[in-house]
Symmetry: C2
Subunit: 532 residues, 2 copies
């Protein structure tokens, strides 16, 4: 049943549990090339709750030694994973393209982003502020009571369960953002692969496993399981060894995981990124001067990657008039000229078609992409409605995953603000404003700050820069925990908690809070930031 992982790049259809190849005993799934409906070998047998228990027990056993490694050692580990993934080259790119239907350029870019994320967290580890080091020195002669020496640093939460996302088979899957930030924090990771790209998952899982071995990390630091979300996924989230969860997927899937985690004897944090329609606000001045240009550019963002981005702009809120008409006309023309591209899976394509059909019942269709006889194609759709209808419709406020958007026509700027105030939480909100729009834009910004994780002026929300200032998050239902981001260096904070050390002997203090600042960290001493 088990064998050592030896060849990076091989595909055997097996899970990887703490460095061992394990064949599942459940249903067998295969990748499907959605562009052709061709089935891809090998088959991947789903694991069961025993596999979950083995993986989480190994993760729990690895946790102590893994979190005991130095920041520099974990940085090397992350960089080795990045190098290994890049080293998969064409093998990885061709498999990921075949399993996702995404074009080579996109997948090539995603390999770069995935490696870049791992290296970003390596740099975060080397910089060291993630420790959150604070020292309140003793005041032995303070009256009426002396003050103890109190120091604080952050420690990792424990083993983390990561659910691979379908729409980023690399950057938010097996070695994606959640895995990178959890491993950086010192948390072992157990990944549940997404059935949409099992071969890509195995390739990347082997790249991580090879890095675990070559950098001398404990074997249980990483495991890769295949299985159904409902059974294996739930078993993973409710396993007592698991201390946090990272998830990107549907609102129903995320909500179920949040409920499962909340029902544990020991509830744990779930970072579920779920649902966002990413409103776009072309303001009247901008529409008057460049309504058609904005409409064309909007259509390009809407159809990018068949609209399968979490940040896909699915809602346009504007004041009715000639400018908005030009925006819609130009967008419709661009959609009609857009070649339909395959969606990630047959299921996603079917759900998209259903969502579009439902929207067509509730709003006016003002644009469609060209149709295609090829399988699983995304035929883009643009709808229009008035503000009152939108506010009264639950259907129209829901995300349709794919290149479908709705234009909400408002009477005036006040109605734009009223519609905005009624929106659910969002990952992004995009404002297009000219100088004449700045008064309205300022009022809009005040509301958007409370609705979205990222606010753009100009540009389009698809494409998320991976840096220090990025926020990919937002109020419910965009995510289940708005206090956090899944993209960018702040994501490491999700998997940490603070601990205070009172009068702990110098020989036992962690180096981050030791006397003399041996790690050369920025630390808050008596409330003041210093590197002394």
């Amino acid at each position: 049943m088990t064998a050592t992982v030896d060849r990076i790049g091989a595909l055997t259809g097996q899970m990887i549990i703490a460095g061992e190849l394990v064949t599942g005993t459940g249903d067998i799934v295969r990748g499907i090339d959605p562009a052709t409906d061709e089935t891809l070998e090998p088959g991947y047998a789903h694991g069961d709750t025993d596999d979950v228990r083995t993986a989480t027990a190994a993760a729990a056993a690895a946790f102590g030694p893994y979190r005991g490694t130095s920041s520099a050692a974990r940085a090397d580990f992350l960089e080795t994973i990045a190098t290994n993934i890049e080293g998969l080259g064409e093998t990885l790119i061709s498999r990921a393209c075949a399993e996702s239907g995404l074009p080579v350029a996109r997948i090539t870019g995603e390999v770069g982003r995935t490696a870049g994320q791992l290296r970003l967290f390596a740099s975060v580890l080397r910089e060291g502020s993630w420790n959150g080091a604070r020292i309140d020195p003793a005041m032995p002669s303070r009256a009426p009571l002396p003050r103890s020496d109190i120091r604080q640093r952050k420690v990792p939460l424990g083993p983390v369960a990561v659910f691979g996302a379908s729409n980023f088979p690399l950057a938010f899957s097996v070695a994606g953002g959640d895995t990178a930030s959890a491993l950086a924090a010192g948390c072992p990771v157990v990944v549940k692969a997404h059935d949409a790209h099992p071969g890509t998952s195995e390739l990347v899982g082997r790249a991580i496993t090879a890095a675990v071995e070559s950098t001398g990390m404990p074997a249980g630091t990483f495991s890769l399981l295949f299985g159904s979300g409902r059974s294996l996924g739930t078993a993973l989230v409710t396993d007592p060894h698991i201390k946090a969860v990272g998830f990107t997927g549907s609102r129903s899937g995320g909500t179920a995981l949040v409920a499962a985690a909340a029902g544990r004897p020991e509830p744990i944090p779930v970072y579920a990124e779920m649902s966002s329609i990413n409103p776009v606000f072309p303001l009247p001045g901008a529409l008057a001067t460049r309504g058609a240009d904005l409409g064309t550019a909007f259509a390009a963002s809407l159809t990018l990657g068949s609209g399968q981005f979490c940040t896909n702009p699915g809602l346009v809120i504007g004041v009715e008039g000639a400018g908005l008409d030009e925006f819609v006309s130009a967008a419709s023309a661009a959609l009609a000229a857009t070649e339909p591209s395959p969606m990630l899976t047959p299921n996603i394509a079917a759900s998209y078609a259903e969502g579009v059909a439902a929207a067509a019942q509730s709003a006016v269709t003002v644009g469609r992409g060209s149709s295609s006889d090829a399988p699983n194609r995304c035929r883009a759709a643009l709808f229009s409605t008035d503000a009152q209808t939108f506010l009264e419709s639950t259907v129209l406020q829901q995300e349709v995953f794919g290149a479908s958007a709705l234009v909400v026509r408002c009477r005036d700027a006040e109605q734009v603000l009223a519609v905005t105030a009624a929106l659910e939480g969002q990952l992004t909100a995009t404002v297009h404003a000219d100088d004449t729009d700045l008064d309205v834009a300022g009022r809009l910004l005040e509301t958007l700050e409370l609705k979205a994780g990222r606010i753009l002026f100009g540009g389009w929300p698809t494409g998320v820069e991976v840096g220090h200032a990025m926020v990919h998050g937002g109020p419910s239902p965009a995510t289940s925990d708005s206090r956090s981001t899944s993209v960018g260096s702040r994501a490491i904070e999700r998997f940490l908690r603070p601990v205070a050390y009172q009068d702990v002997p110098a020989s036992l203090l962690p180096s981050a809070i030791a006397d003399g600042n041996p790690d050369n960290l920025w630390r808050r001493v008596d409330g003041e930031l210093t590197r002394d």
Copy 2:
């Protein structure tokens, strides 16, 4: 039904909703002096769900303007609250002593701590790092794609519900740590007063309301409600305007609030501080040289304030032998000599007696305080058992709120570590170690870091320093969210979330992330901390 709040120091038995005095329509509760069972006037009529709706709607209306105030203005507001509370002087101290049975020195100290907490958060606001300001400057010529200008700051979550704690009628009640940190973050606060000290709550509520008025904050920034936890409390936590909850109390109460919040259409964070038995580890070397002294000092910490601290040391884990025997003998002698003091309420005294009786069924009684015919007295209790019995007993692992503790006798240091590994999450863990104990202490520390929010070497856990490095928190069931602290300056982070601003025009950028750093903040620019 309503009247303007005019006199600080007056007691009318009314709630305060956005600056208006409102008389409830429900059950009437009165404070009780637990030292004498005397009932205290006036009566306080419980509010209902309409009162909740009025208060939360006012808080929601206040949120925009309140969060729009400057950090300096909010700092002034917090300092004014502190001054107003101190200005209540004897009126407040005598009422809080009467309602709690706590001695004057303790209540006087708690007034000082409460004012100190408010001033600490004022200093946090003036220092400004709470903004979490980050800037990744634009790179217009980056290839293959230019980088946008991306900036990040934190914004408040929205109106916060705070549940007053019985055991800190000032420092963790109406103007306590949760209220201070939420107000500092820019969140309006709706407090549900604890029925154990309604008069103290009204006095402090008026002091806050006077500060709201004199510093020109919006009226809905603060409201004070009386009501039952089950009905009014649940209505508050499930109110759509409420965006976070702070609670200190029982495990059952906290668990119910967490479940109510998780069941909302939009789940919200609940910071519930619930249950901790705060293990103490007198290691063999320390026991050999000073077992009796440690036992005496332990008894003093155990009985402080009738043992009614969240950090009360309810568990001693030691290796059996002469040193541990001396520890227990000295502790028992000290308990026998301790004058029994009143508990906070008749209900708490009754629960304590039940908890002690249950423990006596499962372990050997090795020490009791003297008995008393006066009402509601806490008769301290010390029990002893072996490690195996402890590990198999759910009764013995539960908190008994009050001056009751259990000594767990282990065969050797390995068994100490095994028992420690089986403990639930704790607020604190205290190690007494001599130089000969440092090997064991180091291994113990590794486990304790994952079990507790604060680890002490020497000293006793009762008494929590309010500073920058303190952590008052810990894994479940100590709290419902270990990523946070309820004491110390980091508590402001509970009520904030990050927002990214991409290419936002300079004229619309918040000052925290504006060009030229007008607020003179430490900011992370391209990942590097700087004040430029």
